[in-house]
Assembly symmetry: C2
Homo-oligomer: 195 residues x 2
Protein backbone atom coordinates (compact mmCIF):
# COMPACT_ATOMS: atom_id res chain seq x y z
CA UNK A 1 0.00 0.00 0.00
CA UNK A 2 1.87 3.01 -1.27
CA UNK A 3 -0.79 5.54 -0.28
CA UNK A 4 -2.58 4.36 2.87
CA UNK A 5 -6.22 5.47 3.18
CA UNK A 6 -5.84 7.56 0.09
CA UNK A 7 -9.03 6.30 -1.51
CA UNK A 8 -10.90 6.49 1.76
CA UNK A 9 -9.99 10.13 2.22
CA UNK A 10 -10.84 10.99 -1.36
CA UNK A 11 -14.24 9.39 -0.99
CA UNK A 12 -14.96 11.28 2.22
CA UNK A 13 -13.87 14.56 0.69
CA UNK A 14 -15.99 14.14 -2.41
CA UNK A 15 -18.96 13.02 -0.38
CA UNK A 16 -18.62 16.06 1.86
CA UNK A 17 -18.94 18.39 -1.08
CA UNK A 18 -21.81 16.53 -2.68
CA UNK A 19 -23.77 16.06 0.55
CA UNK A 20 -23.43 19.74 1.35
CA UNK A 21 -24.57 20.70 -2.12
CA UNK A 22 -27.38 18.26 -2.83
CA UNK A 23 -28.10 16.71 0.55
CA UNK A 24 -27.62 13.16 1.71
CA UNK A 25 -30.69 11.70 0.00
CA UNK A 26 -30.08 13.84 -3.07
CA UNK A 27 -26.63 12.36 -3.55
CA UNK A 28 -26.27 8.82 -4.85
CA UNK A 29 -23.35 6.55 -4.19
CA UNK A 30 -22.78 6.61 -7.92
CA UNK A 31 -22.33 10.37 -7.79
CA UNK A 32 -19.70 9.99 -5.11
CA UNK A 33 -17.92 7.19 -6.93
CA UNK A 34 -17.93 9.14 -10.17
CA UNK A 35 -16.56 12.24 -8.47
CA UNK A 36 -13.57 10.29 -7.19
CA UNK A 37 -13.08 8.13 -10.26
CA UNK A 38 -13.38 5.07 -8.07
CA UNK A 39 -15.96 2.32 -8.11
CA UNK A 40 -19.01 2.03 -5.90
CA UNK A 41 -17.59 -0.96 -4.08
CA UNK A 42 -15.00 1.18 -2.34
CA UNK A 43 -17.67 2.98 -0.39
CA UNK A 44 -18.97 -0.29 1.03
CA UNK A 45 -15.50 -1.58 1.67
CA UNK A 46 -14.34 1.48 3.58
CA UNK A 47 -17.53 2.70 5.23
CA UNK A 48 -19.94 -0.23 5.32
CA UNK A 49 -22.78 1.65 3.67
CA UNK A 50 -23.86 5.09 2.56
CA UNK A 51 -24.75 6.23 6.05
CA UNK A 52 -21.40 5.06 7.36
CA UNK A 53 -19.78 7.50 5.01
CA UNK A 54 -21.93 10.33 6.32
CA UNK A 55 -21.31 9.43 9.94
CA UNK A 56 -17.55 9.27 9.37
CA UNK A 57 -17.64 12.82 8.03
CA UNK A 58 -19.75 14.08 10.90
CA UNK A 59 -17.60 12.34 13.49
CA UNK A 60 -14.38 13.84 12.22
CA UNK A 61 -15.79 17.34 12.00
CA UNK A 62 -17.59 17.21 15.34
CA UNK A 63 -14.61 15.98 17.27
CA UNK A 64 -12.38 18.59 15.73
CA UNK A 65 -14.86 21.38 16.48
CA UNK A 66 -15.38 20.35 20.08
CA UNK A 67 -11.68 19.88 20.70
CA UNK A 68 -10.71 23.24 19.31
CA UNK A 69 -13.51 25.02 21.15
CA UNK A 70 -12.43 23.45 24.43
CA UNK A 71 -8.84 24.39 23.83
CA UNK A 72 -9.66 27.97 22.91
CA UNK A 73 -12.00 28.54 25.83
CA UNK A 74 -9.81 26.88 28.44
CA UNK A 75 -7.11 29.47 28.21
CA UNK A 76 -6.75 31.79 31.21
CA UNK A 77 -8.81 34.92 31.64
CA UNK A 78 -11.90 36.27 33.33
CA UNK A 79 -15.13 34.34 32.75
CA UNK A 80 -16.33 36.98 30.33
CA UNK A 81 -13.05 36.98 28.42
CA UNK A 82 -13.09 33.22 28.11
CA UNK A 83 -16.69 33.24 26.99
CA UNK A 84 -16.01 35.87 24.37
CA UNK A 85 -13.12 33.81 23.08
CA UNK A 86 -15.41 30.79 22.88
CA UNK A 87 -17.94 32.62 20.73
CA UNK A 88 -15.36 34.15 18.44
CA UNK A 89 -13.56 30.85 17.97
CA UNK A 90 -16.86 29.18 17.24
CA UNK A 91 -17.68 31.72 14.56
CA UNK A 92 -14.23 31.37 13.08
CA UNK A 93 -14.25 27.59 13.05
CA UNK A 94 -17.76 27.39 11.62
CA UNK A 95 -16.52 29.42 8.73
CA UNK A 96 -14.04 26.68 7.85
CA UNK A 97 -16.53 23.91 8.51
CA UNK A 98 -19.33 25.34 6.40
CA UNK A 99 -20.01 22.17 4.47
CA UNK A 100 -19.78 19.91 7.49
CA UNK A 101 -22.16 22.14 9.42
CA UNK A 102 -24.63 22.17 6.57
CA UNK A 103 -24.71 18.39 6.52
CA UNK A 104 -24.91 18.36 10.27
CA UNK A 105 -28.11 20.35 10.46
CA UNK A 106 -29.83 19.31 7.26
CA UNK A 107 -29.54 15.57 7.06
CA UNK A 108 -30.18 14.41 10.57
CA UNK A 109 -33.63 13.05 9.77
CA UNK A 110 -32.29 10.70 7.16
CA UNK A 111 -30.11 8.92 9.67
CA UNK A 112 -30.76 5.60 11.35
CA UNK A 113 -31.63 5.73 15.06
CA UNK A 114 -28.01 5.02 15.99
CA UNK A 115 -26.73 7.67 13.63
CA UNK A 116 -29.24 10.15 14.93
CA UNK A 117 -28.16 9.51 18.50
CA UNK A 118 -24.52 9.97 17.62
CA UNK A 119 -25.36 13.21 15.87
CA UNK A 120 -27.36 14.41 18.85
CA UNK A 121 -24.49 13.59 21.18
CA UNK A 122 -22.14 15.86 19.26
CA UNK A 123 -24.63 18.73 19.43
CA UNK A 124 -25.18 18.20 23.11
CA UNK A 125 -21.46 18.35 23.82
CA UNK A 126 -21.25 21.78 22.23
CA UNK A 127 -24.34 22.86 24.14
CA UNK A 128 -22.85 21.65 27.40
CA UNK A 129 -19.65 23.56 26.76
CA UNK A 130 -21.65 26.75 26.45
CA UNK A 131 -23.70 25.89 29.50
CA UNK A 132 -20.60 25.50 31.61
CA UNK A 133 -19.33 28.90 30.60
CA UNK A 134 -22.72 30.50 31.14
CA UNK A 135 -22.98 28.92 34.56
CA UNK A 136 -19.62 30.40 35.48
CA UNK A 137 -20.82 33.79 34.29
CA UNK A 138 -24.01 33.42 36.29
CA UNK A 139 -22.05 32.69 39.45
CA UNK A 140 -19.87 35.71 38.78
CA UNK A 141 -23.07 37.80 38.64
CA UNK A 142 -24.08 40.50 36.22
CA UNK A 143 -25.91 38.38 33.72
CA UNK A 144 -29.40 38.74 32.35
CA UNK A 145 -30.60 35.21 31.77
CA UNK A 146 -32.36 32.93 34.24
CA UNK A 147 -31.67 29.66 32.45
CA UNK A 148 -28.16 28.90 31.18
CA UNK A 149 -29.68 26.24 28.97
CA UNK A 150 -31.99 28.60 27.13
CA UNK A 151 -29.20 31.16 26.88
CA UNK A 152 -26.95 28.50 25.37
CA UNK A 153 -29.62 27.63 22.81
CA UNK A 154 -30.05 31.28 21.93
CA UNK A 155 -26.33 31.70 21.38
CA UNK A 156 -26.12 28.59 19.24
CA UNK A 157 -29.01 29.93 17.22
CA UNK A 158 -27.21 33.17 16.48
CA UNK A 159 -23.89 31.48 15.72
CA UNK A 160 -25.36 28.79 13.52
CA UNK A 161 -27.61 31.25 11.75
CA UNK A 162 -24.57 33.33 10.87
CA UNK A 163 -23.28 30.25 9.11
CA UNK A 164 -26.46 30.28 7.09
CA UNK A 165 -26.79 33.87 5.99
CA UNK A 166 -23.19 35.07 5.75
CA UNK A 167 -21.85 35.13 2.21
CA UNK A 168 -18.09 35.77 1.74
CA UNK A 169 -18.80 37.30 -1.65
CA UNK A 170 -21.18 39.85 -0.13
CA UNK A 171 -20.51 43.42 0.98
CA UNK A 172 -19.81 42.78 4.65
CA UNK A 173 -16.50 41.31 5.72
CA UNK A 174 -16.34 38.32 8.00
CA UNK A 175 -14.63 40.34 10.71
CA UNK A 176 -17.37 42.96 10.55
CA UNK A 177 -20.23 40.51 10.86
CA UNK A 178 -18.39 38.44 13.43
CA UNK A 179 -17.85 41.47 15.65
CA UNK A 180 -21.50 42.51 15.37
CA UNK A 181 -22.75 38.99 16.10
CA UNK A 182 -20.49 38.71 19.14
CA UNK A 183 -21.71 42.06 20.43
CA UNK A 184 -25.31 40.93 20.05
CA UNK A 185 -24.63 37.81 22.08
CA UNK A 186 -22.71 39.62 24.81
CA UNK A 187 -25.49 42.16 25.18
CA UNK A 188 -28.06 39.40 25.04
CA UNK A 189 -26.72 37.77 28.18
CA UNK A 190 -25.73 40.94 30.05
CA UNK A 191 -27.84 42.72 32.60
CA UNK A 192 -28.89 46.13 31.36
CA UNK A 193 -28.22 48.68 34.06
CA UNK A 194 -30.89 51.27 34.53
CA UNK A 195 -29.47 54.79 34.39
Amino acid sequence: MAEPNRSKDRLALSALGLFAERGFVGTSIRDIAKATGLSISNIYHHFGNKEGLLLAILKTASERLLHELQEASNQPGTPIERFKRLVQTHLQLSRGLRKEAKIFFLDEEHLSPEGYRANLKYQREILDLYREHLLALQEAGEVNFKSPTIAAFNILGVVNWHLRWYRPEGQMSFEETSREVTEFILHGISRVREP
Copy 2:
Protein backbone atom coordinates in the same frame (compact mmCIF):
# COMPACT_ATOMS: atom_id res chain seq x y z
CA MET B 1 -68.45 19.01 -7.00
CA ALA B 2 -69.90 18.37 -3.58
CA GLU B 3 -66.68 19.10 -1.69
CA PRO B 4 -64.64 21.72 -3.53
CA ASN B 5 -60.88 21.25 -3.23
CA ARG B 6 -61.40 18.51 -0.76
CA SER B 7 -58.87 16.17 -2.31
CA LYS B 8 -56.46 19.02 -2.91
CA ASP B 9 -56.50 20.03 0.73
CA ARG B 10 -56.18 16.49 1.93
CA LEU B 11 -53.16 15.96 -0.30
CA ALA B 12 -51.51 19.13 0.93
CA LEU B 13 -52.16 18.23 4.55
CA SER B 14 -50.78 14.72 4.21
CA ALA B 15 -47.77 15.97 2.28
CA LEU B 16 -47.06 18.55 4.96
CA GLY B 17 -46.80 15.87 7.61
CA LEU B 18 -44.72 13.54 5.51
CA PHE B 19 -42.35 16.21 4.22
CA ALA B 20 -41.78 17.47 7.76
CA GLU B 21 -41.10 13.97 9.00
CA ARG B 22 -39.04 12.43 6.21
CA GLY B 23 -38.04 15.39 4.09
CA PHE B 24 -39.02 16.22 0.54
CA VAL B 25 -36.70 13.77 -1.18
CA GLY B 26 -37.39 11.15 1.43
CA THR B 27 -41.10 11.23 0.70
CA SER B 28 -42.41 9.64 -2.48
CA ILE B 29 -45.57 10.64 -4.27
CA ARG B 30 -46.81 7.14 -3.55
CA ASP B 31 -46.43 7.75 0.16
CA ILE B 32 -48.55 10.89 -0.12
CA ALA B 33 -51.17 9.19 -2.24
CA LYS B 34 -51.35 6.24 0.10
CA ALA B 35 -51.71 8.49 3.14
CA THR B 36 -54.76 10.15 1.61
CA GLY B 37 -56.22 7.02 0.05
CA LEU B 38 -56.18 8.78 -3.31
CA SER B 39 -54.29 7.93 -6.44
CA ILE B 40 -51.06 9.47 -7.69
CA SER B 41 -52.87 11.21 -10.53
CA ASN B 42 -54.46 13.69 -8.15
CA ILE B 43 -51.11 15.16 -7.24
CA TYR B 44 -50.30 15.86 -10.86
CA HIS B 45 -53.77 17.16 -11.57
CA HIS B 46 -53.88 19.60 -8.66
CA PHE B 47 -50.24 20.61 -8.31
CA GLY B 48 -48.54 19.81 -11.63
CA ASN B 49 -45.72 17.85 -10.05
CA LYS B 50 -44.18 16.94 -6.74
CA GLU B 51 -42.45 20.28 -6.34
CA GLY B 52 -45.70 22.12 -7.07
CA LEU B 53 -47.16 20.44 -4.04
CA LEU B 54 -44.27 21.57 -1.87
CA LEU B 55 -44.41 25.12 -3.19
CA ALA B 56 -48.15 25.33 -2.56
CA ILE B 57 -47.58 24.39 1.06
CA LEU B 58 -44.77 26.91 1.47
CA LYS B 59 -46.74 29.66 -0.23
CA THR B 60 -49.77 29.26 1.99
CA ALA B 61 -47.73 29.16 5.18
CA SER B 62 -45.42 32.02 4.22
CA GLU B 63 -48.21 34.36 3.25
CA ARG B 64 -50.10 33.63 6.42
CA LEU B 65 -47.02 34.16 8.58
CA LEU B 66 -46.10 37.44 6.92
CA HIS B 67 -49.65 38.75 7.04
CA GLU B 68 -50.13 37.98 10.70
CA LEU B 69 -46.76 39.42 11.63
CA GLN B 70 -47.51 42.64 9.80
CA GLU B 71 -50.90 42.89 11.45
CA ALA B 72 -49.53 42.25 14.92
CA SER B 73 -46.65 44.66 14.63
CA ASN B 74 -48.63 47.45 12.99
CA GLN B 75 -50.75 48.09 16.03
CA PRO B 76 -50.07 51.38 17.88
CA GLY B 77 -47.37 51.73 20.48
CA THR B 78 -43.81 52.90 20.98
CA PRO B 79 -41.19 51.43 18.62
CA ILE B 80 -39.94 49.13 21.34
CA GLU B 81 -43.44 47.96 22.23
CA ARG B 82 -44.24 47.21 18.63
CA PHE B 83 -40.96 45.39 18.15
CA LYS B 84 -41.54 43.28 21.23
CA ARG B 85 -44.98 42.39 19.95
CA LEU B 86 -43.42 41.37 16.64
CA VAL B 87 -40.99 38.98 18.29
CA GLN B 88 -43.58 37.45 20.58
CA THR B 89 -46.07 36.99 17.77
CA HIS B 90 -43.36 35.40 15.67
CA LEU B 91 -42.52 32.91 18.41
CA GLN B 92 -46.19 32.14 18.92
CA LEU B 93 -46.93 31.66 15.23
CA SER B 94 -43.86 29.54 14.64
CA ARG B 95 -45.15 27.20 17.26
CA GLY B 96 -48.27 26.55 15.18
CA LEU B 97 -46.30 26.36 11.95
CA ARG B 98 -43.69 23.89 13.15
CA LYS B 99 -44.02 21.52 10.26
CA GLU B 100 -44.15 24.22 7.64
CA ALA B 101 -41.07 25.87 9.10
CA LYS B 102 -39.18 22.61 9.12
CA ILE B 103 -39.88 22.11 5.43
CA PHE B 104 -39.04 25.72 4.79
CA PHE B 105 -35.52 25.49 6.11
CA LEU B 106 -34.64 21.91 5.28
CA ASP B 107 -35.73 21.34 1.74
CA GLU B 108 -34.73 24.49 -0.04
CA GLU B 109 -31.83 22.85 -1.87
CA HIS B 110 -34.07 20.31 -3.52
CA LEU B 111 -36.09 23.02 -5.24
CA SER B 112 -35.85 24.14 -8.83
CA PRO B 113 -34.32 27.59 -9.43
CA GLU B 114 -37.78 29.16 -9.60
CA GLY B 115 -38.92 27.42 -6.46
CA TYR B 116 -35.75 28.46 -4.67
CA ARG B 117 -36.29 32.05 -5.65
CA ALA B 118 -39.87 32.00 -4.41
CA ASN B 119 -38.69 30.50 -1.15
CA LEU B 120 -35.99 33.13 -0.81
CA LYS B 121 -38.51 35.89 -1.44
CA TYR B 122 -40.64 34.77 1.49
CA GLN B 123 -37.64 34.72 3.80
CA ARG B 124 -36.57 38.15 2.63
CA GLU B 125 -39.98 39.61 3.34
CA ILE B 126 -39.77 38.50 6.94
CA LEU B 127 -36.23 39.85 7.15
CA ASP B 128 -37.33 43.20 5.74
CA LEU B 129 -40.14 43.44 8.26
CA TYR B 130 -37.60 43.09 11.05
CA ARG B 131 -35.26 45.53 9.38
CA GLU B 132 -37.96 48.19 9.24
CA HIS B 133 -38.66 47.86 12.93
CA LEU B 134 -34.98 47.88 13.79
CA LEU B 135 -34.45 50.97 11.68
CA ALA B 136 -37.22 52.71 13.58
CA LEU B 137 -35.57 51.71 16.83
CA GLN B 138 -32.23 52.96 15.60
CA GLU B 139 -33.70 56.35 14.74
CA ALA B 140 -35.31 56.48 18.17
CA GLY B 141 -31.82 55.95 19.65
CA GLU B 142 -30.66 53.72 22.48
CA VAL B 143 -29.82 50.64 20.46
CA ASN B 144 -26.64 48.62 20.41
CA PHE B 145 -26.33 47.43 16.85
CA LYS B 146 -24.65 49.19 13.96
CA SER B 147 -26.28 47.22 11.16
CA PRO B 148 -30.05 46.63 11.26
CA THR B 149 -29.52 43.85 8.73
CA ILE B 150 -27.16 41.86 10.91
CA ALA B 151 -29.36 42.49 13.92
CA ALA B 152 -32.35 41.18 11.96
CA PHE B 153 -30.41 38.05 11.04
CA ASN B 154 -29.40 37.52 14.64
CA ILE B 155 -33.00 37.79 15.80
CA LEU B 156 -34.22 35.40 13.14
CA GLY B 157 -31.50 33.01 14.23
CA VAL B 158 -32.72 33.02 17.81
CA VAL B 159 -36.41 32.76 16.89
CA ASN B 160 -35.93 30.02 14.33
CA TRP B 161 -33.59 28.11 16.60
CA HIS B 162 -36.23 28.12 19.29
CA LEU B 163 -38.41 26.31 16.80
CA ARG B 164 -35.71 23.69 16.57
CA TRP B 165 -34.86 22.99 20.18
CA TYR B 166 -38.11 23.62 22.01
CA ARG B 167 -40.03 20.46 22.84
CA PRO B 168 -43.57 20.85 24.20
CA GLU B 169 -43.21 17.57 26.07
CA GLY B 170 -40.12 18.85 27.90
CA GLN B 171 -39.83 20.48 31.30
CA MET B 172 -39.98 24.11 30.26
CA SER B 173 -43.28 25.67 29.27
CA PHE B 174 -43.64 27.57 26.05
CA GLU B 175 -44.39 30.79 27.92
CA GLU B 176 -41.25 30.37 29.99
CA THR B 177 -38.93 29.82 27.07
CA SER B 178 -40.66 32.46 24.97
CA ARG B 179 -40.16 35.09 27.67
CA GLU B 180 -36.50 34.17 28.07
CA VAL B 181 -35.89 34.23 24.34
CA THR B 182 -37.58 37.62 23.98
CA GLU B 183 -35.49 39.00 26.82
CA PHE B 184 -32.33 37.78 25.14
CA ILE B 185 -33.25 39.52 21.92
CA LEU B 186 -34.25 42.78 23.60
CA HIS B 187 -30.98 42.87 25.52
CA GLY B 188 -29.10 41.90 22.40
CA ILE B 189 -30.17 45.03 20.58
CA SER B 190 -30.15 47.41 23.55
CA ARG B 191 -27.30 49.66 24.53
CA VAL B 192 -25.84 48.63 27.86
CA ARG B 193 -25.55 51.69 30.09
CA GLU B 194 -22.41 51.90 32.09
CA PRO B 195 -23.14 52.48 35.77
